[in-house]
């Protein structure tokens, strides 16, 4: 299903790398004028697909549903993405990219002093981003979609958060309990649950607030244990 003119540089083959995937033609091609429009088409496909994945669910969305918005031709869609799964993989890799960025931003020296603050900053920033950005929200939900090969994206997320928590336990900031060792999983699953549930709940509280509630309560519990004794 590769595009006949460009098998080596299909967008998917580069999607796994942290840099933005290159669209369409190889560098130095004389037809570089196509670039801008191709980028727009590709972004439109991703946006429409993400909206459907987010509201209807991955399983309820078909390639036909995605083209029915009429913003692009079916042929154009299949040029960029050979399958629904390819779009999902792209959204997941965008999510992984954002996650890595968010974590490294919070890890900059001087941005937050304690591990608790750092974790809170990460989850609050993620909450804000997934609330504003449908593509990202869809990507986050897809990390736990059982029917696609998501490259263990959820485990990757948990591992990244777990690194911070394990360091905090070693430094003595968090208490060394089995529950604290599993805190990363609990935080990530809670965030995902909030994203799924917020669609079914009262609209007066937005998703960002819900994720903040979950994250801050858990982090506070992990840091202020001694006062409960």
């Amino acid at each position: 299903m590769n595009s006949p003119n460009e098998p080596a540089a299909t967008p998917e083959s580069t999607a796994a790398t942290p840099t933005r995937p290159r669209i369409g033609r190889i560098p130095g091609s004389k037809n570089s004028a196509m670039q801008d429009r191709a980028v727009r088409t590709r972004e439109a496909i991703i946006t429409v697909a993400a909206r459907h994945f987010d509201t209807d669910g991955y399983g309820h969305t078909s390639m036909n549903t995605i083209t029915h918005t009429g913003k692009f031709a079916k042929g154009a869609m299949y040029y960029h993405f050979p399958s629904k799964e390819a779009i999902a993989e792209h959204l997941i890799s965008d999510w992984n990219h954002t996650l890595a960025e968010t974590i490294s931003e919070a890890s900059l020296p001087g941005s937050s002093s304690t591990a608790g603050e750092k974790l809170a900053a990460i989850f609050i920033s993620l909450a804000r981003q997934v609330t504003e950005n449908t593509n990202l929200r869809a990507g986050m939900k897809l990390t736990c979609e059982p029917t696609i090969n998501n490259g263990a994206a959820f485990a990757h997320w948990v591992d990244a958060i777990s690194d911070i928590i394990e360091t905090a336990i070693t430094d003595g900031e968090f208490n060394d309990t089995p529950t604290t060792h599993r805190l990363a999983w609990t935080l990530c699953a809670g965030t995902l649950g909030a994203a799924h549930a917020s669609a079914s709940l009262r609209e007066d509280i937005d998703l960002a607030t819900r994720i903040e509630d979950t994250a801050t309560a858990h982090i506070r519990a992990a840091t202020h244990l001694d006062c409960d004794l």
Partner: protein
């Protein structure tokens, strides 16, 4: 296990309109639901067809359509089972007459235990956050609404220290619960659900030894 004797008015009779035969029909009905629950967790609700269910369940297509005229009827039945589990658990917890914060722990632990052990109830819970399904939203809202008064009670009695987000705590716990179940189900780690929910409750109650004993002691 469940008591399903009193749901005759809720049964989808298909096109025949006859009430189902009792003991054997019930076994068939449960077999269909069990097979559907397995398939829904493996390929998702949307990705499962009636044909897949008939292939997996030891029932004929005719029997299948006798009990459930369409896939939505199966989903509706699962949502009903989950709601029943919530109602029964909340009722049992209130009947114990324990302090409200202990009741909250009991409810979540009991629901976690049943979600871990009963595939149909687990499927019902996961379907309750499926937005494409009519009735899912109402099921989820009924769940949070049933727990909210108890959580508010617990906060009023001073057992909880999160006054700021007190009104949202029931929602937060439910969202954490559904997230834990979804992730565990998608990673094929159903056996960890009970422990995951304990973690969730510990994070909220604190992991001091006294709180750990309290969480672990709260069972129905």
């Amino acid at each position: 296990m469940n008591n399903h004797t009193d749901r005759s008015e809720g049964i989808d009779h298909g096109k025949t309109g006859r009430p189902p035969m009792q003991p054997r029909a019930k076994i068939t009905r449960e077999a269909i639901l069990e097979a559907s629950a397995i398939l829904f967790s493996r390929t998702g609700y949307a990705g499962t067809t009636i044909d897949d269910i008939v292939t997996l369940a030891p029932v004929t297509k005719g029997a299948m359509y006798f009990h459930f005229s369409k896939k939505e009827s199966i989903a509706r039945e699962m949502l009903g089972r989950w709601s029943d589990a919530v109602t029964a658990t909340v009722g049992k917890a209130i009947a114990t007459g324990q302090p409200a914060d202990r009741q909250v722990l009991m409810i979540y632990r009991e629901l976690a235990r049943r979600t871990q052990n009963e595939a149909i109830i687990r499927a019902g819970l996961i379907l309750s956050v499926d937005q494409s399904l009519s009735g899912a939203r109402a099921t989820y809202e009924a769940w949070t609404a049933a727990i909210e008064p108890i959580v508010v009670d617990a906060s009023r009695s001073g057992a909880l220290d999160c006054a700021k987000s007190m009104s949202r705590l029931a929602d937060t716990l439910c969202a954490g619960f559904v997230g834990a179940v979804q992730v565990a189900a998608s990673l094929d780690e159903n056996h960890t659900m009970g422990r995951r929910v304990d973690d969730l409750l510990l994070m909220w109650r604190g992991t001091a030894p006294a709180a750990v004993r309290m969480v672990e002691g709260a069972s129905l």
